[in-house]
């Protein structure tokens, strides 16, 4: 990464970088530089503008992402603690976590892990947000997931445009930077953040052993592995569900499995929704109601849901 940043400082050498080095440089810049970005998330026929202020002060990362339309939503980073401020929900802090921000997860993801399921390809250069950019495509090795395109600023490798693309080449969701400023110093608003009182970071409950559950998922797209397994109650309905989160290092999606009670009468067990790159699917599979939610193609969600079966030799 250090070498990459050294090379990129010298005009001309940037051409020698591989796609992976570009992505490494992007991650380095995103976490270390001071910048002020405005971008728009475009999904279906909806555009959501955001403002992104980032700085590094005395070795600590400081960051504020603010939604500009509708009710205020903020994502605040202070070192390794991320706080979510949403007027419609509770204020909430998490330590050492992936930021759930409107930017795609690839900006902070582990490239080594991603490499197992995706290839990184250098494409051409083009002008985006008034700057010269290098297009990098992160292409899945199979069709069970979406591709990610990134247009990186040639001088800093900061993303100025990103897109989630399905296998047909349709853009499902994109992010377009509208204004972009590299800053010499950490902005005052971020220094104020250092003084701000944020809620204490909560810790996430440990995963339960998969052997505790009486179901099994027989098909998972290649490269996806469980990052969390537990049983919890849905906050809104207090419904108890078994929960499985799967990730390939770039995409995280949820699988909920609930055993349908013997006397329970389901009016309509099957639901299927999609919005931009998001898929929502609920299906009755054997004795279970399986729900899959996340940025995966509907076909993948369906195949996974239908692969859920009761464990044949389940015993406690």
């Amino acid at each position: 990464m250090f070498i990459a940043s050294f090379f990129i400082c010298l005009p001309g050498y940037a051409d020698a970088l591989t796609a992976k080095q570009w992505l490494e440089q992007m991650r380095h810049s995103i976490t270390s530089k001071n910048y002020d970005l405005s971008f728009v998330v475009i999904s279906e026929n909806k555009a959501n503008p955001w403002h992104w202020l980032h700085g590094k002060h005395e070795g600590q990362e400081l960051e504020i992402l603010t939604s500009l339309n509708g009710p205020i939503q903020q994502i605040v980073r202070k070192g390794d603690v991320v706080t979510y401020i949403d007027k419609q929900r509770s204020v909430y802090s998490v330590k050492d976590s992936m930021t759930d921000s409107p930017m795609p997860d690839i900006i902070r993801a582990d490239l080594k892990k991603i490499e197992q399921s995706y290839t990184f390809t250098l494409v051409g250069k083009s002008r985006v947000a008034g700057y010269k950019t290098q297009l990098i495509r992160v292409i899945p090795k199979d069709s069970s997931r979406y591709a990610f395109w990134l247009w990186l600023h040639v001088d800093t490798a900061l993303p100025l445009k990103t897109a989630i693309v399905n296998k047909k080449g349709d853009v499902l969701e994109q992010i377009q930077v509208a204004s972009f400023h590299l800053l010499e110093d950490v902005p005052v608003a971020l220094l104020d953040l250092k003084q701000a009182q944020l809620p204490i970071a909560s810790k996430v409950g440990a995963s339960t052993d998969i052997a505790e559950f009486d179901w099994q998922v027989n098909w998972v797209p290649n490269g996806f592995s469980p990052t969390r397994i537990n049983r919890h109650r849905l906050y809104a309905s207090q419904q108890e569900v078994d929960y499985l989160m799967l990730s390939d290092g770039l995409v995280w999606f949820s699988v909920y499995i609930r055993k349908i009670g013997d006397s329970e009468q389901l009016l309509d067990p099957n639901t299927y929704l999609h919005s931009g790159a998001d898929t929502y699917l609920t299906q009755k599979v054997g004795p279970f109601e399986v729900t899959v939610i996340g940025e995966i193609p509907p076909a993948t969600a369906k195949r996974l849901a239908q692969s859920v079966t009761i464990k044949t030799n389940f015993s406690r």
Partner: protein
Amino acid sequence: MSQKVKQQLSALVDNDKVSGDVIDKIKQDKALSDTFGRYNLIGDVMRNDVPEQIHLDIADSIADAIEKEPVVLAPNREFSAAVSEKQEAQEETKERSNNVVSLFKPLMQYGLAASFAAALVVGFQTEQTDTLVPQSQLTPVPIAGQLDPVSIEQSTPVMNRQSIQEQQRRVNSYILDHEQQLKNRQFASFDTTDAEPVEESNSTDIEE
């Protein structure tokens, strides 16, 4: 009025020397006095020195016409300035509320921020009939306001209102939980002794 008097009048307006009797004549002669006034005004206009109100004998009908002139809706500078001041003030308050520190007020515990969840609710509520026509293909549902359009596929041919609402509740609670789970993607997992219920969260972990 003789041409000579007019010349002298003009000279008077221009502060040139005139014979003393001209002033007397102006005092006595109404027509001459009016002319003097007009000449003065012309001079004022030429020197860009117009009084705030010009009392010309504009016919009442013209004044009426001006009165009845439709109001121009394009804001003038003063108006725009006043508005932008107001906006700035609003933005200031907004900025203040943007401040992280001041945001920790009692917040609604449960809202429908979930994009497509909310969209689903609205999409169904706009339906006037008690039953939904079966939709074998993905059909975009037009959504009012800020919400995402969603595509809905119903697997059963007819649904009544009760089951639609039931479905909405179910979809919403799952999506809210999924969003919460995405916020909890920790790099390193904590061991069980460290685990505690997530603060004000959607989920209560049940250890068995």
